[in-house]
């Protein structure tokens, strides 16, 4: 276990290093000149060169990357080109909002997805099953931008149940969580259904039924705990999907998280922020996967960590 953990940690560090190198190189190759962006159109060539020197952008790629890495080790992600604030400060101030949204989304996708999967499995082959599976398919394929705007229009504008975007209370959280959760709910419904069907086929289920246990008891006490565990173990992997989703969902709902920060930075070619958010996201994904892998054997003893 310890050896496994050590190996995985080294692997994770290497992945992050790779991500940083690739992102840095891609941003370096970008034809947009960040200095011209900062200097604006009225700058004289002299101003442009001055700024280039100040930022060290006149150095060769390897030197720039090395400077970035050495500062990164001490937790310094540099300063935003456009906002001129510390990237660390910008990300830290926005992380709690993104974490809250992710929690909300996980809650939504589990509640909706697991319920749908459970019902579909029990009603297997019926019209209910088919309807739910089509619905899950729609949930998986619907673009989040559209889902978000639709939910906003119906529940916030028309019905007025929730605020139209923003951040602050639990009512602000519902619609964005739902938008993010619907995608995952579709996957979870499908996984839950097959996992449940798998469990219901097991010998011990037949035994339980033969003992004359009530249908509810069989489902909730014997089948559900066994079916649900492998599904829940997927949450760690979800983080990767969420990291993509928050960019869109946070923009639609005006949610002040790191997704919104990333989207703005991409539009304005604010390279230090793009780098920072990419690294933080990569870190979250690597961590999520690592946790999923570590938890797996506890849930399913057939899995061994090697």
């Amino acid at each position: 276990m310890i050896a496994y953990l050590g190996r995985r940690l080294i692997q994770s560090a290497l992945i992050l290093l790779g991500v940083s190198l690739i992102t840095f190189a891609l941003l370096y190759l970008l034809p947009a000149d960040p200095v011209r962006q900062i200097a604006g159109r009225s700058a004289t060539p002299q101003t442009v060169e001055n700024i280039r020197q100040q930022l060290g952008l006149d150095q060769p790629f390897i030197v720039q990357y090395w400077h970035y890495l050495t500062r990164l080790v001490s937790g310094d992600l540099g300063r935003s080109y456009i906002q001129r604030s510390e990237v660390t400060e910008l990300i830290v101030s926005r992380l709690p909002a993104s974490q809250l949204l992710m929690l909300g989304a996980i809650l939504c996708e589990l509640l909706i997805g697991l319920t749908m999967g459970l019902v579909a499995a029990v009603k297997r082959g019926t019209a209910t099953d088919q309807t739910l599976m089509v619905a899950s398919f729609v949930g998986v394929s619907a673009p989040q931008f559209v889902v978000g705007l639709l939910l906003l229009y119906v529940f916030a504008v028309r019905l007025g149940w929730f605020p139209i975007g923003g951040y602050g209370t639990w009512r602000h959280l519902v619609l964005p969580s739902l938008t993010m959760g619907i995608l995952g709910a579709g996957w979870y419904a499908r996984m839950m259904r097959s996992s449940m069907i798998d469990v219901l086929r097991q010998d011990y289920m037949r035994t339980a039924r033969a003992k004359g246990l009530a249908r509810g008891a069989i489902l909730f006490r014997h089948a559900l705990p066994n079916a649900i565990l492998p599904v829940i173990a997927m949450i760690g992997i979800d983080i990767g999907i969420f990291m993509g989703g928050i960019v869109v969902v946070e923009s639609v709902f005006g949610w002040p998280g790191i997704g919104q920060l990333a989207w703005q930075a991409i539009q304005r070619v604010d390279i230090p922020i793009i780098m920072g958010v990419t690294l933080v996201s990569a870190f979250a994904i690597v961590l999520g996967n690592l946790l999923a892998d570590i938890i797996a054997p506890f849930i399913d003893p057939r899995i061994k960590l090697r």
Binding site: S42, Q46, T47, S85, L90
Partner: protein, 547 residues
């Protein structure tokens, strides 16, 4: 007292003879304006720095104007210059020395009085390369600028503190735009002790002399401005509080405005909703339309065949159906026939420009030796609506036989192609150029039509360089006497007419501004389409529903 009066009168008489001194007339304050109340404004993007030496986008531009002041400003809702932190100014007859008398008792938000030392410090700071100010180049005419820009000096030798309330600027050449330069944000006055206290984070902790002070800044969520009770301009501002909510899509902002939750959607009316809003009389009544210091144009590279032939460039000017192109952007513009926009001094109302005349355009092409047209490339920035505008231009050109292929690229790539002499035969300027930095006709010449801009990495994408016109421009800009502004504007009109004869551009349209506001907002319409304050003039607007 009597003596004082006499000397003032004498000074005024002398000044009148020279015609070179201006004393500030106090602004008239809207008698209907009510005091108090709070408004909410939304934006999609985070607000970048509020440091006046650095902020240079249309979003923070107006916010900075409310937190800080400069020696000069504009009368609200207009392009008319007036002294601001300066009480009066005096220009030497050779136009190379500007002396400003500062008003007494102006306090920074930290309580300290502003003096001439602060003016000098602010100018030294903005020109110092370490500040990385995008606006440093505006101060190029001040003596000693080159040494500061090159890092050889820490202070501008041309800026002298005469006494605590007098500051003198010496220039290397007469510069008629200098008063405008004293009104742009980059020359706004900052207190040294606060800049030194916060260092690179001064932009997050702005302290100025402005009508509002920063009360709260929650990153990514909101910025709150609070009325500066000690504001030197008595009676202003009218509002107690302005809350800027950040991170709201324009479409969401519009919905919230319709529900009465916000007062101004800072990013404007989303294009997709524009017609719907304008079709509803109740909503349309709350939209204020105004001009913008903007021109959208097509550049033709005058050093590249076949655009090195003036007849070809004139033919392109005649081939464009501008009314149809404007339809593509829902009519949010007016057709342009000259480089200057209509709200800019120097715009010639009488000038007719090139007519839309396909037959004549074809004839000109034939005269130029291209009876069957030719193939070329039209570069365009790849965000909507620019590619659609480019397609309309493409169709118009096809009608006279010019087959233009569209190169739709990211902004930076188009700018790079334009700044390369062999880069782009034609460019549609949309999304990149040109909105004036200050309301002066010269601002549409130097960087985009003058020889100085026709250099690698420059913004003169036509590579048009007419030495005669450059000389005329320099002559016009040496007329620094504000009393002769009319004469100077006429000279500029003539320069732009000559430009149009040579036709390095085909001007297409001038974008209009449409600001939507809540029903409770009051104040003259021109405060909502103020040429220098976007979206609105925060200091002068008010709300009607306060006691």
């Amino acid at each position: 007292m009597k003596k004082f009066l006499a000397s003032t009168v004498a000074a005024s008489a002398l000044a009148l003879m020279l015609g070179m001194t201006s004393v500030r007339a106090e602004d008239t304050i809207d008698p209907n304006a009510k005091q108090g109340g709070a408004i909410t404004i939304t934006y999609k993007d985070d607000v970048a720095t509020l440091d006046p030496a650095i902020g240079y986008d249309w979003q923070n531009w107006s916010m900075i104007k409310s937190l800080f002041d400069g020696l000069m400003d504009y009368e609200p809702g207009t392009t008319n210059l007036k002294p601001d932190l300066a009480e009066s100014y005096e220009i030497s007859p050779d136009g190379k020395t500007f002396t400003f008398k500062l008003r007494h008792g102006v306090k920074f938000h930290n309580g300290r009085e502003m003096t001439a030392d602060d003016v000098k410090y602010s100018l030294d700071r903005v020109t110092n390369p370490k500040t990385q100010s995008p606006g440093a180049g505006f101060f190029g005419s001040i003596k000693g600028y080159d040494d500061v820009a090159a890092g050889k000096a820490e202070t501008l030798s041309g800026v002298t503190v005469v006494d605590p309330y007098t500051v003198k600027f010496e220039l290397t050449r007469p510069d008629a735009t200098f008063l405008h330069v004293m009104a742009i944000n980059f020359s706004h006055i900052v207190p040294k002790e606060e800049v030194e206290k916060y260092g690179a984070d001064f932009g997050k902790h702005p302290v100025g002399t402005g009508a509002f002070k920063l009360a709260e800044w929650t990153l990514g969520q909101r910025i709150v401005f609070e009325r500066n009770a000690d504001y030197w301009h008595k009676g202003l501002p009218h509002l107690d509080k302005i809350t800027f909510e950040i991170g709201q899509e324009p479409i969401v902002a519009l919905l919230r405005l319709q529900k009465g939750e916000i007062d101004v959607p800072g990013d404007g009316i989303p294009p997709a909703k524009f017609q719907e809003v304008m079709a509803d009389p109740e909503q349309k009544a709350r939209v204020v339309e105004g001009g913008q210091l903007h021109t959208g144009y097509i550049t033709m590279n005058t050093t590249m065949a076949p655009f090195d032939n003036v007849k070809v460039r004139q033919a392109v000017n005649m081939a464009l159906n501008k009314a149809r192109i404007i339809q593509i952007i829902n009519g949010r513009a007016v057709p342009a026939n000259q480089p200057l926009p209509p709200s800019m001094p120097g715009y010639d109302k009488e000038y007719k420009g090139y007519p839309y005349d396909v037959a004549k355009a074809k004839a000109l092409l034939a005269e130029a030796g291209h009876p069957d047209g030719f193939e070329t490339q039209l570069f365009v920035m790849n965000t909507d609506p620019n590619p659609r505008i480019a397609q309309a231009i493409q169709q118009d050109l096809a009608a006279i036989g010019i087959k233009a292929s569209i190169q739709s690229l990211a902004q930076a790539n188009v700018i790079a192609a334009g700044g390369d002499k062999a880069g782009a035969p034609m460019i549609w300027s949309g999304g990149m150029a040109w909105i004036a930095d200050f309301p002066d006709p010269s601002n549409f010449y130097g960087p985009i039509l003058g020889c100085a801009g026709a250099v690698p990495g420059g913004w003169n994408w036509s590579w048009y360089c007419n030495k005669d016109l450059d000389a005329k421009a320099a002559e016009a800009d040496s007329i620094v006497d504000p009393a002769k502004a009319g004469e100077r504007d006429k000279m500029w009109s003539a320069i732009y007419e000559k430009v149009m004869e040579d036709a390095p551009w085909a001007p297409v349209f001038n974008e209009q501004r449409f600001t939507m506001k809540s029903a409770r907002m009051g104040g003259a319409d021109n405060l909502y389409v103020d040429p220098v304050h976007i979206p609105i003039n925060y200091d002068n607007v008010y709300v009607k529903d306060v006691q």
